[in-house]
Structure formats: C-alpha cells, structure tokens
C-alpha cells in the first residue's frame, strides 16, 4: 500500500504546486495561512483541484495566540477573542466557551473557503472542491496522560463528533514525544465512536535524528493506532513515514516542500533562510552547501532528475541555484519514494548504507539515521 502524500500550503510554493500537480495527492491548509493569504489559497485550490483539509489550531497548540492580524482574525472566527489575554488563551474561560469554540472551529473549516470564493463564482469558477475532504477536531498539545490538556482535547473531540453531520471527522493526537511510551493508554482514550480517522503530531520528532529505541516506540505507536482500523495521517513526517505507510501503518504523510518533516511547537520559525537540498538516497534534507560536499565525496548520491540537471548543483554557486528547482526536485523525489515498491525502497536503503559504510566520519552525523532505519524496518519485516 502506498501512503498518500499531502503538502502544507505556503504562499511561496504556489508555482511549484501548480507545475507539479501530478506529483502529490492533496493539501493541508493552516488557518493562519488561509487568513493571511486567502486569495492565494483559493487560486491554488481552484487551479490544481486537489483534496484538502484545514488544520485549524496548529498555531494555537500551546494555548497561545500572537498579536498578529491573522491571529486576531482567527480568534474572532473561532469565537475566542474574549478568552485571550496577553497572547495566552485562558483555559478556564475557554472551557466556559467551549461549545461555541468547537462549533465555530468546525464551521470555519466547512465554510471559510466556500464563503471566500464568492467573488470567483462570478467568473464561472465554482463547483469543484469547496468542501474539505475531512474536518479536524480542534486540538491542543497533550502534555500528559492525566493532564488538563488531555481532558480538554477529549472534550473537544466529543463535542466535534456531535457536530460532524455527514462529513468525516478526524481526531488529532498531538503529543509530547515522551508520551510515545504511554501509547496503549493514550490511544485507548481516543477509541471513541464517531471518529473517522486520526491525525498524529509527535512534537519535534525527527525521523532522521532519533535513535533506534525512539524509532521503535514511534513504530509501536502507529502499530497500536492502526489496530483501531481507521485511516491515519502523520501531520509531520518524511521518508521513514513513507516506509511505514508501505507497511500499512500510515495512510497519509504530510510535510511542507523541503520543510515540515517534523515540528517543534515551542520554536517559532525564524526569518533566516538557508537553501536546502533533499538527497534522495539518504532521504534527508540538508543545507545545500553540505549536500554539494556529500555528493562530491560520494558521487553515487548524485540525483539525475530533470530539475537537478537544470540546476547543475555541483557546478553552480548556491546563491545562483534557483530555489524552485530545489523544491521541484524535493516533490518529485518524495513522489518517487511513494511510487516505489517497498522491497525496492528498502533494498535501496540497505545498499546506500553499505555504500556509505566507508565514508569518513565527517559526514556520519548526516547519515547515521540510515542504519537506524534499516535496523528498525528490518525488525518490523521479521515480525
């Protein structure tokens, strides 16, 4: 089984999404992006005609809301303006207002695109895809099994189920990494009638940075969740998730283009931008200058896709390499991973590990994950 590949929408990625519309399955639109770039988002949805859903509360996941224009709009739309003080969502006030909040969050997902597209219908553009494929129950980060945040999440989920109507409603399991150890109890609480699927966000879980032990817990978590026989989306995943998808543990992997394979909610994105490059054979995004050095050292890592050939990354200074080519290369590479047969993908992983066994330890930091992945996936296959 091949997992679906969804991308987080970013206002700078529109052209890449349009040009490579056959190389992904759908979109996730964050409410903050939808508020800031409404016209862009609409134009994208109309032109590529892909399934989508709205991630309503990922920016509110720590019960905070920055004083930005989009945040004010979101707070108003979600009917929590009265609950926010100095950028913090007051949990007591939120609880008093929970019915209205849940109702508004779900209505926002159902109606925002449709209502914003009113003008476009005048130009004969209408009909397609105004409805999100799924509705997501509002969520906050779960801090512990017995935490107030967990209770609040379950309460919001129950209220969302009551409002779901004919649509599909997904629960979001957004957890601190250490809670992977308590998967059994955690998942059992989400076994609620009316939930049609799950979105998972393990805070700051870096598939290419974790050791074997943590990766095994991660796999175990998805194994247990998949026993509920509902579709599972990993909201921040990379190639390792694609491999798990092929083993039937994940149905959809969400990421941004060359970012967002993990997310730490405690760290805000900075303005500093370093060009990055995805090395398909090692399944990792690295700074472009580092990728050039790795490929110079191990030429077998070179990618010959049309975008890499055009970018000529080994002979071109990084500031002259077009960012859109690097992004297109990423989208194409992820799609190729998805399309590849599991056995072929796993065999490639093993052969790359062997190839790199002899590589100088200078690069080991960039490559260590391959051995961990090989070990963990190997154990799953062995059963």
């Amino acid at each position: 089984m091949n997992p679906k590949i969804y991308y987080r929408v970013l206002q700078t990625d529109g052209e890449v999404f349009k040009k490579l519309r056959n190389y992904y399955d759908g979109f996730v639109i964050e409410a903050s992006i939808l508020e800031q770039f409404t016209k862009f988002t609409l134009s994208l949805l109309f032109s590529v005609e892909k399934p989508f859903f709205i991630d309503p509360t990922h920016k509110l996941v720590l019960l905070t809301l920055k004083e930005k224009e989009w945040a004010i709009n979101v707070a108003e739309a979600f009917k929590i303006s009265e609950c926010v003080e100095e950028g913090v969502i007051l949990i007591d006030k939120l609880k008093e207002n929970l019915d209205a909040f849940v109702k508004a969050t779900i209505a926002y997902q159902r109606d925002k695109i449709k209502m914003s597209s009113g003008g476009l219908e005048l130009f004969g553009i209408s009909g397609y895809g105004l409805e999100p494929g799924i509705i997501v129950a509002p969520y906050f980060l779960i801090e512990g099994i017995h935490s107030e945040s967990f209770e609040l999440n379950l309460e919001m989920l129950r209220k969302s189920i009551a409002l779901k109507g004919d649509g599909k409603l997904y629960a979001v399991i957004a957890i601190e990494e250490y809670l992977l150890s308590e998967a059994e109890e955690l998942i059992s609480k989400f076994e609620i009638e009316g939930v049609d699927g799950f979105c998972v966000w393990v805070s700051d879980f870096r598939e290419e940075g974790e050791d074997v032990k943590m990766l095994e817990k991660y796999v175990e978590f998805f194994k247990k969740l998949s026993k509920l026989k509902k579709p599972i989306m990993n909201l921040y995943g990379g190639a390792f998730s694609v491999l798990l998808g092929k083993l039937g543990l994940i149905d959809c992997v969400v990421q941004g283009i060359a970012y967002g394979e993990h997310r730490n909610p405690y760290i805000a994105a900075t303005g500093r931008y370093t060009k990055t490059y995805y090395i398909p054979k090692i399944h990792k995004v690295v700074p472009l200058y580092r990728a050039q050095e790795l490929i110079e050292t191990v030429p077998e890592l070179k990618c010959e896709c049309e975008f890499c050939v055009e970018a000529d990354i080994m002979n071109t200074p990084e500031n002259r390499i077009r960012t859109d080519l690097l992004k297109k290369h990423y989208v194409l590479s992820r799609w190729n991973e998805k399309q590849m047969d599991f056995n072929e993908l796993y065999a490639n992983l093993k052969s790359t590990t062997q190839l790199l066994d002899d590589v100088f330890e200078e690069f080991w930091e960039q490559l260590r994950h391959l051995k961990s992945w090989e070990e963990v996936i190997g154990k799953i296959i062995e059963g």
Partner: protein, 138 residues
C-alpha cells in the same frame, strides 16, 4: 571579537607561511555555511595563486580534523595545526588518508605532514575566495 585560545597559535603560523603567502586570519567564507577559516594563506604570485587553509587547535584534534576536511572543498591544500604537547594524540593515518597536512606549533611552527593537493576542491568556491581576496588586496 572573542579571541579563542587557538588564536595564540596564529603568530607562529603567520611566520611559517608569510614569506610566500598573504595571510588572512579568521577568514569568513562568503556562503551560507558561516564557516571561518582560522588561517587562510594565498600565494603571493598573481597568476593562479595556490590557497591553503589551516585550522588551529590547542588539543582537540578531532574537531580540527573535521574542520580541515571541510576546507578541502574550498582550497588547494588543507592543514591541521596543533600545539606540540598534544601532537602525539593525533591519528596521522586518517590525516594522510584524506591528504590533510599537519603542523606542530610550539616555539615555532613546523610542518610534520605535507598537505596533498585537494581533489575535492570546487573550483567555483575557490574562485569566490580568490575574487574576494584580490578585492581586499586591491
């Protein structure tokens, strides 16, 4: 600028190469890597000058080695310089394997292993450094 302890090695390295090379200390490479070459030596001849990089360390040769390795992509020859008292800790074989030179520093600096010509140099990276250096030299 915070002066590191390894900067105490710079004067001896300067003495070793300054007859034939222009010397630049703590040279910041003009790319996204934010790398800084401790001692950059650019041959004084005008046509196709050779560039050398030296990474200085008091004792931690492994970090110095990693840095010296990454300089192979920018320059013609790359060296690790280390204080003489810690010289015996260095794995000379791994340096030789990658063509990285070794300099011992005490009362003076002395080349222990000659650096080999780097076959990893990305010409455009080297040219960028040269262009910047030529601008500085006027």
């Amino acid at each position: 600028m915070i002066r590191t302890r390894e900067s105490s090695l710079y004067p001896k390295l300067f003495d070793l190469f300054s007859d034939d090379y222009h010397i630049f200390l703590e040279y910041r490479v003009q790319d996204c890597s934010r790398r800084e070459i401790d001692v950059l030596c650019v041959q004084k001849q005008k046509a196709n000058p050779e560039i050398r990089a030296i990474e200085a360390k008091i004792s931690n040769w492994k970090i110095g080695f990693r840095q010296a390795f990454s300089r192979l992509f920018y320059v013609d020859r790359s060296y690790l310089a280390i204080s003489r008292e810690h010289l015996n800790k260095v794995d000379c074989e791994i340096l030789k394997k990658h063509g990285i030179g070794l300099i011992s520093v005490d009362g003076s600096a002395e080349v222990i292993i000659n650096a080999e010509w780097s076959d990893r140099t990305m010409e455009w990276r080297k040219e960028k450094i040269l262009k910047d250096i030529m601008k500085r030299l006027g």
